[in-house]
């Protein structure tokens, strides 16, 4: 069967993990990986897997887009260079899936709004790791009844947080809280991130608190949360409800643990796994539409 060809921009941990996931896809086929360091491990690994590589950044990819029929690009670099990368691939008619917190395009949290995105948008943003892990739960409550305030606490292992996130941790806070409102459906959103250095590294933990406007419908919310957990488990099997939902007045609290698949990144880095898995799932939906349009 014909597959949709993809390029990965960024040859770090995220790009490499995503490469493993795309190689298993029945819809997508990774053909290019773009880096900036010719000696990078990620590029070497991609070459071994038979993927074309360039160490000349985005400009090393652009001349090959048409000949190699690249239709979807993933950006796993940084928010600072994303706009430039996106403009360049969009000019060639390529859809950009953004794994940086740049958020030029609309947010996508697959089980919540993937099916609502227009098929002709040029750029989709994957929010943040904390957003991917928690916004499905905010949405699971807000689809039952209005949520006045949604708050998420993401705790991640020190080893799973790269220098980009560390240098601009405010971006995580702002992007995530914005998406808790926009995609999660909370009228006001707040996001907190905690980095824990324990060894062995802890699995990603997430706590979601929602304040409902009226008395929470406990049975309906509990059922909705369990349904949503199953939806996320379709692409992140290690997404688990540890405790809750717990009800305290109008407060609904949900406690999660996210274990990664361990494709390239270690299993404790569920925060990174849920990003690459969400990006792959988002791209697969667009890829399927492209295939349907061609037939």
């Amino acid at each position: 069967m014909k597959k949709i060809k993809c390029a990965l921009i960024g040859s770090g941990n995220i790009g490499t993990d995503l490469l493993y996931k795309l190689q298993r896809s029945e819809i997508l086929e990774p053909v290019w990986m773009v880096g900036i360091d010719p000696d990078s491990e990620g590029l070497a690994r991609a070459r071994e897997m038979g993927i074309k590589t360039t160490a000349d950044g985005i400009d090393g990819l652009i001349p090959h887009i048409e000949a190699d029929e690249v239709k979807i690009a993933f950006d796993a670099t940084s928010a600072y260079v994303h706009a430039d990368n996106s403009a360049k691939v969009n000019a060639k008619g390529v859809l950009m899936i953004d794994l940086t917190p740049a958020a030029i395009g609309p947010y996508c949290v697959p089980p919540v709004n993937l099916d609502q995105l227009d098929s002709d948008i040029p750029n989709v943003n994957m929010v943040t790791c904390g957003g991917q892990a928690t916004i499905p739960m905010v949405a699971a409550v807000s689809r039952v009844q209005p949520v006045e305030y949604g708050e998420i606490v993401a705790t991640v292992s020190s080893k799973s947080v790269g220098p980009g996130t560390r240098q601009n941790i405010d971006e995580f806070t702002r992007t995530t809280s914005g998406a808790v409102e926009q995609i999660g459906g909370a009228k006001r959103g707040k996001a907190i991130i905690i980095i824990n250095p324990a060894e062995p590294p802890l699995l990603m933990r997430d706590t979601i608190h929602c304040l409902t406007e009226s008395e929470p419908d406990q049975a309906a919310i509990t059922e909705s949360v369990h349904q949503m957990i199953s939806e996320v488990q379709k692409y992140v099997p290690g997404y688990k409800l540890k405790n809750g939902p717990v009800f305290d007045g109008r407060k609904v609290s949900i406690f999660l643990e996210v274990e990664g698949l361990g494709d390239y990144l270690p299993k404790y880095a569920g925060n990174l796994d849920i990003m690459t898995a969400s990006a792959a799932r988002t791209a697969e939906m667009f890829g399927q539409q492209m295939l349907d349009g061609q037939s």
């Binding site: 305030y149 708050e151 606490v153 705790t155 020190s158 220098p163 560390r166 240098q167 601009n168 941790i169 405010d170 995580f172 806070t173 702002r174 707040k190 907190i192 991130i193 905690i194 980095i195 824990n196 250095p197 324990a198 802890l202 933990r205 706590t207 608190h209 304040l211 540890k242 405790n243 809750g244 717990v246 407060k251 609290s253 406690f255």
Partner: protein
């Protein structure tokens, strides 16, 4: 120990760390009364924010009685000589909060991270420095790493522009020898113009001794709290510390009777519970657990029937860090399930 004629800057925590002990419910009148009392007693620096710093207002840590803006605007205009500081924990507060604090007249910003994660403070320290603020790097839970590792993190904060670095004993776990080792190495490794500070908790009854050890090793800023109002068994009680410093002929600049009166007449009557080393606060210090977990664990005990002491020990075993208050209910529920399964 000879500290004669040494100069020290005492920094009061009652209106920030004390917010933990009051579940962030200190009223504006109480804040103003304490702050003006401390101002008159000669305390040069007073911290005012939510217990978890700027932007700490949340379901996770507790909604405060008033916003940081309201507290700062109520307190700052009333002070004659004292300056006001604000705490900022990256991951909870942002540079936007920092700007707000600056606009309200805060002159010291203390950017706090877990002791191993100093590199998340770069954008906030740089921003505070660019505003011309007295900029402090505040390394929390400093008992969890060695003096050498602490220096590496301190140097990061110093390189971003912090002019003062704190060794913070958030769990009240350290003994004087631990303090001496850390402060002495910081003093010898950081730039001579970088100040060193120490923040203690009284969970093992060591806060005064630890603060003295810090001064002897080169710390010139010491945190404390009038009447000890703070998380866990409280901070170094400032009126007690002042009396000790007085006996040792330290140049502290505080009116001892006035600060005693603030402790006795204003702060103690407004406490929701006595600030003392009860068995749970003792467990914090014994097991090295973040002091603000105390009241959360005691509430979880009531709710889930698991002793607070056991919950705190488990949180210590899991190596939780400051800010992980959500793990208290989570852990208590998991422990309650296990207890139930064992009984069945």
């Amino acid at each position: 120990m000879n500290l004669k004629d040494k100069k020290v800057t005492l920094h009061d925590m009652s209106l920030r760390d004390g917010m933990h002990a009051k579940q962030h419910q200190i009223s504006l009148d109480e804040m103003v009364a304490i702050a003006t009392g401390l101002d008159e007693a000669g305390i040069p620096l007073i911290e005012v924010t939510h217990g978890d710093g700027l932007g700490g207002t949340s379901l996770n840590y507790g909604f405060p009685a008033h916003s940081d803006e309201e507290y700062l605007s109520a307190v700052i205009p009333k002070l004659k000589q004292a300056k006001v500081s604000a705490l900022l924990i990256p991951g909870i507060g942002t540079v936007d909060h920092l700007k707000m604090a600056y606009d309200h007249g805060v002159t010291t910003i203390r950017v706090a991270t877990h002791c191993t994660e100093a590199d998340v403070s770069e954008q906030h320290i740089k921003a505070a420095k660019a505003m011309g603020l007295d900029t402090v790097g505040f390394l929390m839970m400093a008992h969890m790493i060695s003096a050498e590792e602490l220096v590496v993190q301190a140097k990061l904060m110093e390189s971003y522009g912090a002019n003062c670095i704190y060794c913070t004993d958030s769990a009240g776990y350290m003994l004087p020898e631990h303090v001496t080792e850390r402060i002495a190495l910081l003093r010898s490794e950081l730039k001579p113009e970088t100040e060193i500070g120490f923040h203690g908790h009284h969970n093992l009854g060591m806060s005064i001794s630890n603060s003295l050890a810090a001064m002897e090793a080169g710390a010139t800023r010491i945190d404390g709290s009038v009447a000890g109002l703070g998380a866990g068994a409280g901070n170094t009680p400032l009126e007690v510390f002042t009396a000790v410093l007085d006996r040792m002929d330290v140049d502290h600049g505080i009116d001892l009777y006035k600060i005693m009166d603030v402790a006795e007449d204003i702060v103690t009557p407004m406490m929701d519970q006595p600030i003392r080393i009860d068995r749970d606060a003792l467990t914090l210090g014994y097991a090295g657990v973040y002091s603000s977990f105390l009241l959360f664990a005691q509430r979880a005990e009531k709710k889930y029937g698991v002793p607070a002491r056991d919950i705190l020990l488990e949180l210590g075993r899991q190596k939780t860090v400051g800010g992980q208050e959500d793990m208290i209910d989570d852990t208590a529920m998991t422990m309650a399930k296990a207890l139930k399964a064992n009984k069945a």
